[in-house]
């Protein structure tokens, strides 16, 4: 049963992935404009040089099918297109070469992804812990001043623009914590303790910003989830058993209230590799979010395709994880 379930889930994941791969290719090519013209809108680049670049990146080829060759009955010639080159490279595990910096997209992404995961993961983790704890307390103290305060602060931070909060924190911590980047250049050898302390210092402001902004979402969901659970009959049973408030909250309410959170958390973590564009921008964090943002402006198709593929794969995996986790946490969900 369980095996069947997994097999089916994996099958659908693969189908989704194939759709994503095809969609991924065309998505960026329907953007208006010409990447070469935009990329190299540089007075020092002649038209001949632009043409050369176009050939180098295969942008002189038709996007989908070479219609002329097809009508001439030349099937291999007809297939000589940007799309077939994309698929061909992908099958070999190659994501292509960035239009802008000529680096291998796979390398660019693997350099960036752990930085983004470090930032977003620590930020979201902090947000989840804060959200769950405050949500739990607010729900338990429903209607009291504590609850009102939690709701007020929650809604306030929910409405607070990330950019604004980031800048405020940046100005407040100026001189105490670094204003941007992930490391102090030239300070320490990568991998040493000093290096990691330096990274930690750079991480505090951006992850805190991210945490404060996303915590309120978790808090509000957690609160309503706990409020709902606390009205359930089994909570009254637990109370009648003579359990203390803390025991009731942690051994009866929490697990049930966490069920809707599991899906949200798993999916959020799936988007972790997508980065947090605003936070990465304010704090000059060299992550995937910034990369995607910059690449859109430059129409750097190979980087965008690579990044979105990475994002799609991790979201698909996160979905799968959420399904499996849910069946572990909630005995009522039959794995069928």
């Amino acid at each position: 049963m369980q095996f069947d379930y997994l097999l089916r889930k994996v099958f659908f994941a693969v189908i989704t992935l194939i759709v994503v791969i095809v969609f991924n290719f065309f998505l960026f090519r329907i953007l208006p404009g010409d990447p070469v013209k935009l990329l190299f809108r540089n007075p020092r680049l002649t038209r001949e040089a632009q043409e050369l670049i176009r050939v180098q990146f295969g942008l002189d080829k038709p996007v989908w099918l070479n219609i002329e060759r097809l009508s001439a009955g030349d099937i291999p010639g007809a297939l000589d297109s940007q799309f077939t080159a994309y698929i061909h490279n992908l099958l070999q595990g190659k994501l292509g070469i960035s239009f802008t910096n000529r680096q291998d997209v796979g390398e660019v992404l693997s350099e960036r992804v752990w930085r983004t995961v470090l930032l977003v993961f620590s930020g979201e983790l902090l947000a989840i812990v804060m959200g769950v704890v405050v949500g739990l307390v607010a729900a338990w103290k429903r209607g009291t001043a504590i609850d009102s305060a939690a709701l007020f602060i929650g809604l306030l931070t929910w409405a607070l623009p990330t950019f604004f909060l980031g800048i405020i924190l940046l100005i407040l911590a100026r001189g105490i914590l670094p204003t941007g980047g992930m490391v102090t250049p030239g300070l320490a050898e990568e991998g040493t303790l000093e290096y990691w302390i330096d990274v930690g210092r750079h991480l505090i402001l951006p992850s805190l910003t991210l945490a404060v902004v996303s915590a309120s979402g978790y808090m509000l969901i957690m609160r309503s989830s706990v409020v709902e659970v606390l009205s359930e009959a089994y909570i009254l049973t637990a109370k009648a058993k003579g359990l203390s408030n803390a025991r009731i909250l942690f051994s009866h309410a929490l697990k049930n209230a966490m069920l809707p959170m599991i899906t949200i958390i798993a999916l959020t973590l799936g988007y972790v590799v997508g980065g947090a564009i605003q936070v990465e921008t304010v704090f000059s964090w060299p992550g995937i979010g910034r990369l995607i943002y910059d690449s859109v402006a430059k129409q750097d198709y190979p980087v965008l395709q690579g990044a979105f593929l990475l994002l799609a794969v991790s979201v698909i995996l996160a979905n799968l994880t959420a399904d499996i986790l849910y069946s572990v946490f909630d005995p009522r969900v039959k794995v069928t």
Binding site: R174, P185, I204, S284
Partner: protein
Amino acid sequence: MRSKSKKFVVAMLIFAMLGLGIVVNAQDATTTLRIGTTYMIDTLGPGSGYYGYDIRGLFYETLVEAADNNNVEPGLAESWTVSDDGLTWTFKIREGVTFSDGTPLTAADAAWSINWIIENQVVSMVSYLAFVESAEAPDATTLIMNLSEPVSNMISSKLLYVYILPPHIWEGKTAEEIAEFNEPESTIGAGPYHLVEHQPDEYMILEANDNYWRGQPPVDQIIYQQYSTEDALVQALAAGEIDLAKVLPTSGVQTLEQTENVQVIKTTGLNFLQLSMNVSEDGTQPASMRDPQVRLAIDHAIDREQIVTVGYFGLAEPAEILFPPAMAQWRNTDIQIVPFDIAEANRILDEAGYADTDGDGIREDADGNPLEYRLAGPDSDAYYPRILEIISDGLSQIGISALPYTQSTESLTVLQVDYDYDMILWDWGIDADPHFLTSVFTCAEMADGGWNDTGYCNPEYDALFQTQATATSDEQRRDALWKIQQMIFDDRPWIILVYPQAISGYRSDRFTFDPNLPNALLKWGLFTGFSIVQ
């Protein structure tokens, strides 16, 4: 309980380390100049990179070099002569120069580099060698370049960007390999610094080239650190994390001027704000936009003083001439600013026959089409909408309706390429040499991928452009360029609005920079207008 309190102590220790950390690196013997920037470099290799000229300038030497006040100084070439027909250039190459890896640099390497760029069509540099047919080195100190046509800005512009590279690094590579060679060795040149570490989009660490021909570079290490926004640069400079930021936002000036140990430099540099008018024959603009009298009236209705105050916090000056004051050598100073004069603008439109026939407050042309225009600007900065608003207000007082809106620079570029707009506000940063700027208005640039954004096409103009391009004397070139500036002023495909001040800043507790040095000339500036504060 005990293990809990132990954990707590450890946690506090870690927190303390993070909090206090190593804020200041131990004072060591090396001096470091930390430069903050929003953009460092695209590709490391010079074969395919288009951005980061200031950094590349520290890696590589060129025959001649940009110096202060837009002058050109000798570089690897000590001196040069050009034949009367302008087709043969002879350079005397400096002796005793070595690349940063220790190999000597001779005229033969210079000739090899030039031929190599031409033969392999190295995209980043080949355009500067247009009309250069070949180069040769009859001896170790003589370089001869043969041209098919005279090039007026060979020294003032073209050769500033042609790097003399070490053949032993680049020889034997195919054109494609050249474009994709991005290893650290690709940065070996004869410049004052060489690369030690590069984290793309994060930072670059450069170390001094002890064999540099001008002598020991003034600082041992230069670190470029990339920030995502200009606002972050302001904070980083104020916090003392960086020593120099060459491009700062006007919004940061007040903060920085109040910060101790920060010196702000304001210069009127090589940039201007301009309004592109769609004058194309096959554009989508209303026909009235093609009438020079309408464009003159619009010019009169723009309150430049208000743009300076509201848009730039006073850090700009009203403009009218295509060439900013920094291009003094070529600048047509006869051109007088068009005064902000609503009455005069109305008079011009009345005279040209644009009257408000239906009484709705908007004038119509002879065919009854209202003077309604799209007024666009980029959404990349907060001052664009403010300026668009000022322009729109002025136009509404002369019976022209112009609804201001902003869009991404990418979409605006697309609109402009298709001449599908009426008026677009743009910021321009230009070369000290006027060749590129003046090429924008030629008919040839209207072709696909070209730079002619207004559809202005005038054979008379093209002839003047050709004259300035191939002039063999400065007088001849200046004459053509003065006429060009007058023509653009009269025909108004562009209305030049203001010259914004370029803002840069540095830590005066660590270094001093000569405030007269234009921002871009870091390499020259390091050896002339720079000193370390002890």
